[in-house]
């Protein structure tokens, strides 16, 4: 810059078109990684059949996640891809709405009813446990609240919603998110192994994954790694859990407001509506239309496949956004509380699911 000149800061205004265009590289990256995972799975299967070899069937889900993990933790994600990679949650939710085509409303009500009962029990166990652990490990109270919400309800979404409602620090939110995501990543590999070892049915496993895995994308992936049928149930169970988010966040907001450490919630109904995950309504709508035979069999098949393609992009995103170095840098204590709590929650929910499986013949 020449001497005597004044640097005037440029304010960048981003148009909707420009913002949309900025998404394209990252979305293409998600698609490429997802498709590569599918290609590897199919290639191994074809090779095994051609050579009469019994090769292990590693689902495309796992390949997509692992490829994403390797990319993210080796070469990293260049800035140009980041906006598009961040859309993985959008693809997840679009996939869940379209997944409604594979559920008759009666199934939704039955499985949803069982899930809701187990979710309420799981919430009670998770909150009590995490609060206790938070005290034992001397974590800051608001951090404990965030970890409780993240492990009981809905991972990252719940933590972000609660952070805003209880005026928690950014640092605490980062700790909680990092801990929950790290444990979620481990769950992806551990859950299917345990499920197979216990010979869980698709429904029972799906219910367990949906109740115990915190992040919706990871719960979907954990289900899909087991089987297509398990993925359906996992999504339904997780969606039921997600629907509770408004009530839980409101509860915490009122608690911290009563202690003078958060703003009062004046309009509770508006608050609940604002926090309610709207994609659940979309899922119910599509399920209703499918039940009413608005779509023929071929059209239902197309909708189900669109859901699978959307999830493909999601799973690539799950791997890409898991940065092990960043997680490690967050510190061990929140992770320790999260890990111990999650282990206990996973154990309790497994026991509940095994009982429910017997009682309802899942």
């Amino acid at each position: 810059m020449a001497e005597g000149t004044l640097a005037i800061p440029q304010i960048e205004t981003s148009t909707p078109v420009r913002r949309f265009v900025q998404l394209i590289p990252g979305v293409l990256l998600l698609a490429a990684i997802g498709y590569l995972g599918k290609f590897i799975e199919q290639s191994i299967s074809t090779y095994g059949k051609a050579h009469h070899l019994h090769l292990p069937n590693i689902e495309y889900v796992l390949w997509a996640i692992v490829i994403g993990l390797v990319v993210s933790n080796t070469i990293g994600i260049p800035d140009v891809f980041r906006p598009g990679v961040a859309t993985y949650e959008f693809w997840l939710k679009a996939g869940i709405v379209l997944l409604g085509s594979r559920f008759l409303l009666g199934d939704v009500l039955k499985l949803g009813g069982i899930s809701l009962t187990l979710v309420v029990l799981e919430l009670a166990v998770a909150f009590s446990l995490m609060t206790l652990l938070g005290r034992w490990f001397s974590l800051k109270p608001k951090l404990t609240s965030l970890l409780s919400v993240g492990s009981a309800v809905c991972g990252v979404s719940a933590i972000i919603a609660t952070k805003g409602a209880i005026d928690a620090d950014d640092e605490d939110a980062s700790y909680a998110i990092a801990a929950i995501l790290a444990i979620g990543a481990i769950s992806l590999f551990a859950f299917p192994l345990i499920g197979h070892w216990l010979h869980l049915s698709d429904r029972a496993y799906g219910l367990w994954a949906g109740l115990a895995v915190d992040n919706t994308a990871e719960a979907t992936a954990a289900g899909a790694i087991y089987s297509d049928a398990a993925a359906k149930v996992a999504v339904l169970a997780k969606t039921t859990r997600n629907a509770m988010i408004g009530f839980v966040v409101l509860g915490y907001a009122l608690y911290w407001a009563s202690r003078g450490q958060a703003q009062n919630v004046t309009n509770k109904a508006a608050f609940l509506w604002q926090k309610f995950p709207k994609f659940v309504l979309g899922f119910l709508l599509i399920s209703l239309l499918a039940t009413a035979a608005v779509f023929n069999k071929e059209q239902l098949g197309s909708l189900a496949n669109l859901s699978r393609w959307a999830f493909l992009l999601t799973f690539a995103g799950v791997g890409l956004r898991t940065n092990l170095r960043e997680l490690k840098a967050q510190g061990l204590r929140p992770f320790a509380v999260g890990a111990i709590g999650e282990l206990a929650i996973a154990g309790v929910t497994l026991a509940m699911v095994l009982v429910a499986a017997q009682a309802f013949n899942l």
Binding site: A86, A94, L98, S157, F295, N305
Partner: protein, 42 residues
């Protein structure tokens, strides 16, 4: 992009994600219903 900015960006996007996801899924369902979108393979 600095980490916090990236997270803030993702968080901002996430606020309207639900609505956009529902709109997109319903739009796709409409395209499938009226035959605009041909059979989708997997």
């Amino acid at each position: 992009m600095p980490k916090q900015q990236y997270e803030a960006h993702a968080g901002r996007f996430q606020l309207s994600t639900d609505v956009w996801a529902v709109i997109t899924a319903i739009a796709l369902a409409v395209l499938v219903k009226f035959g605009v979108l041909p059979r989708v393979p997997w």
